[in-house]
């Protein structure tokens, strides 16, 4: 019996990173505007950068390993 085409784990990872990126970016922008949480080096706004990085990484992986790109 032929096995069905398996979705790559990298697609799941890409999707999760995209969602996490959006959440972290959103929370960090909100925090930035409301002058909320103060952590060490908060002036670097690392949450904004890290969130954006996750969105980009996640989107690239989701696209590259999307099941519809690998099915016949």
């Amino acid at each position: 019996m032929a096995k069905k085409q398996q979705i790559s784990i990298w697609f799941f990872i890409g999707g999760l990173l995209t969602v996490y990126g959006v959440l972290i970016l959103g929370a960090s922008l909100y925090d930035y505007n409301s002058l909320g949480t103060r952590v060490v080096l908060s002036e670097l706004h690392i949450g904004v950068w890290w969130g954006a990085l996750l969105v980009i990484l996640g989107a690239v992986y989701s696209y590259m390993f999307a099941p519809w790109r690998h099915s016949k």
Binding site: V39, S42, L44
Partner: protein, 571 residues
């Protein structure tokens, strides 16, 4: 707020970190995704080969990352960050000399025998090479110890979650372990491996900010070294080898011979080449080349792990305004213990969202370690104990069912162990010691079995038994008479850490000597019986037709060179 979140958050009034709603959402999404992956892979775990060996279809990258992730438990992360705070850069030996040579050796020398023999487990290899008695000894000790260790890790993790986040200890134990049970029971090893790769990515993305921001705050590596020397009044915390000339010259109380022979040779080779928890991931590779490449890829990433584990511990020595102490002193004074160093650094730099990602990394670490334990336990129990000694001729579907139930039972036994440890904490020390009894002698037995065709079944069994027995005897001797440590570790200045190294070394030597002696007294097996199992009797496929960059030996050599350079840089 839902009632379960109230239970979760209000269980303890004192906590190190407060999570926001977005942090909790990030953690909740993680649980949903790992369960979703298990459910998705449910239909692809119907045969024994699928359930226990992931269909032997994994690429070198997937098998390699999973190989490393199964070892990257949360206690590994938090424990070694704590050790770095306590002992300085010496803790990095467990990631470099204590891992890299052994991982490369597994890939280049040992993997062909594991893979060509088509064994499903390390005890399974012992059966093929030395017979049923050696397999039974190795399988029983592994199965028993794996679930107990899993329970101890579970309890320790729940305790950390209670201290750091104020989470209820029962909630942490049940939710995280049942999640692991569900996704492993549904999708078998494939599900465990896929989730381990996901967990590997999350661990890195969640923990990577600490060393990056820490180095920015400290002003770079040079200034970090200066600050640590100023704060501690000594400069030996940021060197790997210069302080190991004498037992009394370093905070660990250890000598370079113990690090090289005990850790770098016996313990490391024992763990990375014969502990089925990690070896199982490589056996799932799709072909021999992938199986050889997987530990080499793992070694490449392992070499970088100190960046997210050891460096935060060192950074804490320089930048944290509070001084961390041992667990007992922390409880008495109301301060923070060494084990809290990683969460403290996380709270120092991470705001809403990032904090959730960091905590998710810790939970992911715990779950990857636990999934490794239960999937390896299910395989060894089903194939090496149940099928070998209880029911030899059942259908493949029967064994798959047994594997699924075994996963659930393994998790429940682990939970039981966690509660037992909660009541009697001294059990933790005993079980950890018990686990160490088997590793070093098992490496002696397996390596002689693979490389020396004169080794006989009787030699293998008695060598393994004698090595394990001698390890137990040495441990009991030191327990009864602490002054015996100076004899075993060859110095009156030796401390606990040195005892483990030297005990492993002696027990390995006992195992090898007994195996050789008994083998010469007993009849050897014929070359035909050793085909596919031993060097000299096995045709290992040539890689001569591959381009240089496709050959495992090329990448192993490259990683070995980087390993040497790193040791020189941090000498």
């Amino acid at each position: 707020m839902p009632p379960f979140l109230c239970l979760l958050l209000d269980a303890s009034p004192s906590k190190l970190i407060s999570l926001s709603t977005v942090d909790l959402v990030i953690i909740a999404i993680y649980f949903v995704v790992v369960l979703m992956i298990g459910y998705y892979l449910k239909g692809q775990a119907e045969t024994g080969e699928d359930f226990f060996l992931a269909g032997r279809e994994m690429t070198a990258w997937i098998a390699g990352l999973s190989f490393l992730s199964a070892n990257l438990g949360s206690l590994e992360l938090m424990g070694w960050a704590a050790a770095a705070y306590q002992y300085g850069l010496l803790a990095a030996h467990w990631y470099w000399i204590g891992a890299i040579p052994a991982m490369l050796f597994l890939g280049i020398v040992m993997m062909p025998f594991y893979y060509i023999s088509k064994t499903h487990s390390v005890p399974g290899y012992l059966k093929l090479r030395f017979g049923e008695s050696s397999r039974a000894l190795a399988a029983i000790s592994f199965a028993f110890m794996t679930v107990l260790m899993s329970g101890i890790n579970m309890y320790s993790m729940a305790l950390v979650m209670k201290v750091v986040l104020g989470w209820d200890i029962n909630f942490s134990i049940w939710v995280s372990s049942l999640t692991v049970a569900i996704y492993v029971a549904l999708g078998g090893l494939r599900s465990a491996i896929f989730n381990e790769v996901l967990q590997f990515v999350l661990i890195w993305l969640g923990a990577l900010l600490i060393p990056i921001l820490g180095l920015i705050e400290a002003g770079g590596w040079g200034k970090l070294q200066q600050q640590i020397a100023t704060n501690l009044g000594r400069s030996d915390y940021t060197h790997l080898w210069t302080t190991l000339g004498s037992f009394s010259d370093n905070p660990m109380g250890i000598h370079w011979t113990g690090i090289i022979l005990g850790l770098g040779f016996v313990i490391s080779f024992g763990y990375w080449t014969t502990d089925f928890l990690v070896v199982q991931r490589v056996l799932a590779a799709k072909d021999l080349r992938s199986a050889k490449m997987a530990p080499i890829i793992g070694a490449g990433f392992k070499m970088m792990v100190p960046f997210i584990v050891i460096l935060p511990g060192l950074l804490a020595l320089a930048v944290l305004p509070v001084k961390l102490t041992g667990e007992g002193a922390a409880v008495a004074s109301g301060g923070h213990s060494y084990n809290e160093v990683l969460p403290l650094m996380l709270a120092r730099y991470c705001g809403p969202g990032l904090l959730g990602l960091g905590i998710t990394a810790l939970i992911a670490g715990f779950m990857s370690g636990m999934a490794g334990n239960v999937s390896a336990f299910a395989t060894v129990w089903t194939y090496d104990l149940y099928r070998a000694f209880v029911r030899k001729d059942a259908s493949d579907a029967h064994y798959v069912n047994m594997g699924r139930w075994c996963t659930v039972v393994g998790v429940l036994v682990s939970i039981g162990t966690a509660y037992l440890v909660m009541q009697f904490q001294s059990i933790m020390d005993y079980v950890q010691a018990l686990f160490s009894f088997f590793i070093a002698p098992l490496f002696g037995t397996v390596i002689l079995g693979m490389l020396w065709k004169r080794a006989t079944p009787a030699g293998g069994f008695w060598g393994l038994l004698a090595g394990t027995g001698s390890s137990i005897a040495m441990w009991a001797w030191v327990k009864l008479d602490p002054s015996a440590l100076s004899i075993i570790a060859l110095s009156p200045h030796a401390r606990d850490m040195a005892e483990n190294m030297y005990r492993a070394l002696w027990s390995w030597i006992v195992c090898v000597v007994v195996t050789v002696a008994v083998s010469y007294m007993t009849k050897p097996l014929s070359d035909n019986q050793l085909t596919g199992l031993v060097y000299g009797c096995t045709d290992i496929p040539s890689e001569g037709d591959l381009a240089l960059y496709q050959r495992p030996i090329f990448w192993a050599g490259l990683i070995a060179v980087v390993f040497v350079i790193i040791n020189i840089i941090f000498w």
